[in-house]
């Protein structure tokens, strides 16, 4: 089979990743994230109008009804309207908004959903989310360190941090709403990207033991070429279902699907370049992976 010289391009990859990372971190620092209601707290009402809804009229109705500062946007179709009240309104306001709108409109206004999140809940959720992310990274690093070797664990975590940051950056740059489902997607990205990275790492380990005379760069190139087919096919099938979810799944799940699509694309790239480049940077060699006893046994475990 053909062996691609992946690592020959690693400088370009480092530059590419660095640009993406700097953009992401910069945007996260400056623009931050468009936190969804789950995290900020506040009140949200989604209503459905019989005819297409006049957003300006709705805004005026709400302003005169004592709900100043409400954001009114259409949601999916022009008949569905999403109203967000800034925090400070109480849990009783969701129902009240519906009453105000029903009184002002000739056509029937149907309640789709209301959400009220208290400010302390939102704050806790943000903390919990960050904690979950760190916990996931930590445990995964531990597992890989145990199953493979410390350098692999660092490589895998570097790839994960890379993927999560760039996905977050994507949401920040485009100003997409970051809600609870997106957080779930982000954790799923960690799971997915890891899956990819481990398959590659598994092959690198195998080839280091098999091709004893080859240079590390060569071994990694061979391993990446061998797993390339699988990496692409799996990413493709996952992307296929995610695109289906993004197109047909409806508004409530759209952010989730988009986050995963971005994450899967980045995750595929990072499993090829980021973790392998990190391995080379740390000077991985066959000594890291040799089994001290005998070769060929099925027991591959190495404790770093």
């Amino acid at each position: 089979m053909k062996v691609f010289n992946f690592m020959g391009w690693r400088l370009a990859a480092v530059v590419f990743s660095a640009v993406l990372l700097v953009t992401s971190i910069g945007s996260l620092a400056v623009r931050q994230l468009e936190w969804g209601l789950d995290f900020t707290g506040g009140t949200l009402v989604e209503v459905h109008y019989g005819d297409s809804a006049d957003l300006d009229a709705i805004r005026n109705t709400l302003d005169s009804g004592g709900y100043e500062g409400a954001t009114v946007v259409s949601f999916g179709t022009d008949q569905d309207v999403l109203i967000r009240l800034p925090s400070g309104f109480t849990d009783a306001d969701g129902a009240a908004v519906l009453a105000v709108l029903s009184d002002a409109s000739d056509a029937a206004v149907e309640l789709r959903r209301t959400e009220f999140i208290g400010p302390q809940v939102g704050e806790e959720l943000r903390e919990q989310g960050g904690l979950a992310m760190l916990l996931a990274l930590g445990l995964v690093m531990l597992y890989i360190g145990f199953r493979f070797q410390l350098k692999f664990a660092v490589g895998a975590v570097a790839a994960l941090v890379h993927d999560v940051l760039i996905t977050l950056g994507f949401f920040s740059v485009l100003g997409l709403e970051f809600d609870l489902t997106v957080l779930a997607a982000l954790l799923a990205v960690i799971g997915y990207s890891l899956n990819d990275t481990i398959v590659v790492a598994d092959r690198i380990r195998e080839n280091f033991r098999k091709l004893r005379r080859a240079e590390p760069v060569e071994v990694i190139n061979i391993s990446l070429s061998e797993t390339l087919g699988r990496t692409l096919v799996t990413s493709l099938t996952t992307l296929l279902v995610l695109i289906s979810l993004a197109v047909f799944g409806g508004e409530m799940i759209h952010g989730f699907a988009v986050a995963l699509i971005v994450g899967v694309v980045i995750g595929t790239y990072s499993s090829i370049y980021v973790s392998a480049t990190t391995l080379l940077l740390m000077g991985v060699s066959k000594e890291d992976l040799m089994i001290p006893v005998k070769e060929g046994a099925e027991q591959d475990d190495l404790v770093p």
Binding site: V140, V241, L242
Partner: protein, 631 residues
């Protein structure tokens, strides 16, 4: 021989798939929209006549209905409707026809055939985002509960010192400490032994300074936790009772974390009504049982609240000794003889009042009344001839118990003569529930309308279908016969996932559906890994049978590593996530587990069946590999 499974392995795979089919099957039967009729009190029996009144009302309104049934003990009745749109109208009609005393709830009646129910197969429960309904998260103000307890200690200690004629200064110091200060060491030691006797749960600490002997009584973390647990469990009980009043078919009231309670009410749209009922306060009254010669104007008749004593009643005096606000704690316990009792603590004012009322009435009986605010529906005619239901509040007072007063009571006394420890703990809970409960606030509220719920199901199912179809087409085109095997395994995996979720009673939510979709995409990964290996082995010039064999062998450890790490992430998601995120984590984890079975064992069984034990020159695993095309 290579690539032949022993018969039992084929049978195992076949058996698991058949079981999966059986337990996934109930989800194919769409439930009927229905009305569920329950009596407001458990004594209320629903008979044929009641049901007829309900169905007559529906016929009058021209609402199609069928399949009426009353369950065996006459507690519930079910009326199935033809259309979901008519459900609300039907509910209004039936509650009008039956009047007060009945709860009419919207319900979705499963249509699972009896033979499936007989083996314990049930359809998956739908989350609120799919079924529509209200989700509340309430927070119990535990600080207030702790503060109340401190005030109780403060006044109890002051009273005890006064009674024992010990001079000293008692103050509240911070939110966990009562500080006492004395002029002499003797006074302090006397006070110390009293406090230690009366409140063994307090942590006592002597502090000596010049001319001042002080004593710090601190509440320990353990007792603070106990108070919090009490406050939360007390609120849980009251909320459960009230939720039942709302007439929801499958409500959920659950503690979450330290001081939060989640309430989920499927099918409820009117959040204002729900909150009014959830947020109301119950109360208690202590009154003497009226003597036999008491004039009628001075006594009132009250029925017992418990089901066992339904119909029994007592005459109580009109004068109230104390109300529930004076109760600071009630706890089920046992006396020296091992008999169950309930220990009641009152605040200082309550103790004085109780003492005054009981010291001259030893050997008489005292009734404990439980008061709940309830609502009656009245129908008011509008100018245009239509009727609107109006809720009229009233207090329902029922007797909890009426024990004999054995001696003059103070701030702490006990109710004995209870039949069982169960009765004691129930009474204690009711006393606490009736006492001024720790205040609760709504910290989160989500409502999903029924139309959005239905749409979410439709969209979710569609995205699973389209996603699956795309994967099927790709896999078959790319991997040919092997792709077909993978696709069959993938379908089996979906079915097992659904079966497993139905079996363990997991709730399906919209993020849960997203998890299923993701599983479809990722589950084929195991097969892709195996097939890529087989292709490699072929390229290296191995014989087809050998290539299949080593391909499967070698891929398994990679698959395990990859899946275990994903599982770790899913478990973390479950542990820290709330509501919808948990749903996603559950489907993702189950999906990973079932996919390992189907992708490794299931696909292997199929491949073995097709290719095993034959002489092969060629494998249909994608067009670029032909036997002998060695690298």
């Amino acid at each position: 021989m290579l690539n032949k499974y022993p018969l039992w392995k084929y049978l195992l795979v076949l058996g698991v798939v058949c079981l999966g089919l059986l337990y996934a099957a109930p989800n194919l039967y769409t439930p009927d929209p229905a009305l569920q009729i329950t009596g407001e009190s458990s004594a209320q029996v629903i008979d044929e006549a009641t049901l007829r009144r309900a169905t007559d009302a529906l016929e009058e309104a021209g609402i199609d209905h069928f399949g009426e049934e009353i369950d065996e003990d006459g507690r519930n009745a079910l009326i199935r409707l033809r259309s979901r749109d008519a459900q609300l109208r039907a509910q209004a009609r039936v509650s009008r026809a039956l009047g007060d005393g009945f709860i009419i709830a919207l319900n979705l009646a499963p249509t699972t055939p009896d033979w499936l129910l007989a083996v314990g197969a049930q359809p998956m429960k739908l989350g609120l985002d799919l079924s529509g309904g209200v989700h509340f998260k309430l927070e119990v103000d535990v600080d207030a509960a702790v503060e109340r307890r401190m005030e109780y200690y403060y006044s109890a200690i002051r009273r005890a010192l006064r009674e024992e004629r010990i001079r000293g200064r008692v103050t509240l110091d911070g939110d966990r400490r009562v500080a006492l200060e004395f002029r002499s060491e003797e006074d302090r030691e006397a006070a110390r032994s009293i406090v230690a006797d009366n409140h063994p749960e307090l942590l006592l600490d002597r502090i000596d300074e010049e001319n001042s002997w002080r004593l710090h009584a601190d509440m320990t973390d353990v007792s603070v936790d106990e108070i919090i647990d009490y406050a939360v469990s007390q609120n849980l009980t009251t909320l459960r009772n009230r939720v039942n009043e709302l007439g929801v078919s499958e409500p959920l009231v659950q503690r979450q974390g330290r001081a939060r309670i989640v309430v989920e009410l499927p099918g409820i749209q009117d959040t204002a009504e729900a909150k009014r009922i959830l947020g109301k306060v119950a109360n208690l009254e202590f009154r003497l049982v009226a003597g036999p010669d008491a004039p009628a104007a001075e006594k009132q008749r009250f029925e017992y609240r418990s089901e066992e004593r339904a119909g029994a009643y007592e005459w109580l005096e009109r004068d109230i000794i104390i109300t529930g606000e004076r109760v600071s704690n009630a706890q089920a316990s046992f006396d020296q003889n091992g008999q169950p009792n309930v220990q009641i603590s009152l605040d200082s004012e309550g103790g004085t009042l109780m003492n005054r009322a009981t010291r001259d009435n030893v050997k008489r009986r005292m009734g404990v009344l439980f008061i709940e605010r309830k609502y009656r529906t009245r129908y008011e005619e509008q100018p245009d001839g239509s009727e609107v239901p109006v809720k009229v509040p009233y207090d329902e007072k029922k007797l909890l118990t009426a024990p004999v007063i054995q001696q003059a009571l103070g701030a702490q006394f006990q109710i004995t003569g209870l039949d069982s420890p169960m009765e004691a703990s129930e009474l204690a809970l009711m006393l606490r529930a009736g006492a001024l409960a720790a205040p609760i606030t709504f910290v989160e509220e989500r409502t999903v309308g029924p139309s959005l719920g239905a749409e979410n199901i439709r969209l979710g199912v569609k995205s699973v279908q389209v996603g699956l179809a795309l994967v099927v087409v790709f896999m078959v085109l790319y991997y040919r016969v092997f792709g077909l095997c993978a696709v069959v395994a993938l379908t089996a995996n979906l079915m097992l996932l659904v079966a497993f979720m139905s079996l363990i009673g997991a709730t399906l939510t919209l993020p849960g559906i997203a998890g299923i979709v993701l599983t479809v995409g990722m589950a084929v990964d195991a097969n892709v890994l195996i097939f890529a290996r087989i292709r490699e082995e072929l390229r290296e010039g191995r014989a087809p049978q050998m290539a299949i064999h080593t391909g499967f062998e070698r891929a398994v450890s990679t698959i395990l590593d990859a899946n275990i790490t994903t599982l770790i992430v899913a478990v973390i998601l479950y542990a820290v996530g709330t509501g919808p995120i948990k749903g996603f984590a559950v489907t993702l984890s189950i999906g990973i587990l079932t996919s390992m079975f189907t992708a490794i064992m299931g696909t292997r069984a199929l491949v073995n069946l097709i290719y095993g034990g034959r002489r092969l020159r060629h494998l249909a695993i994608g067009k670029d590999i032909v036997q002998g095309d060695a690298a």
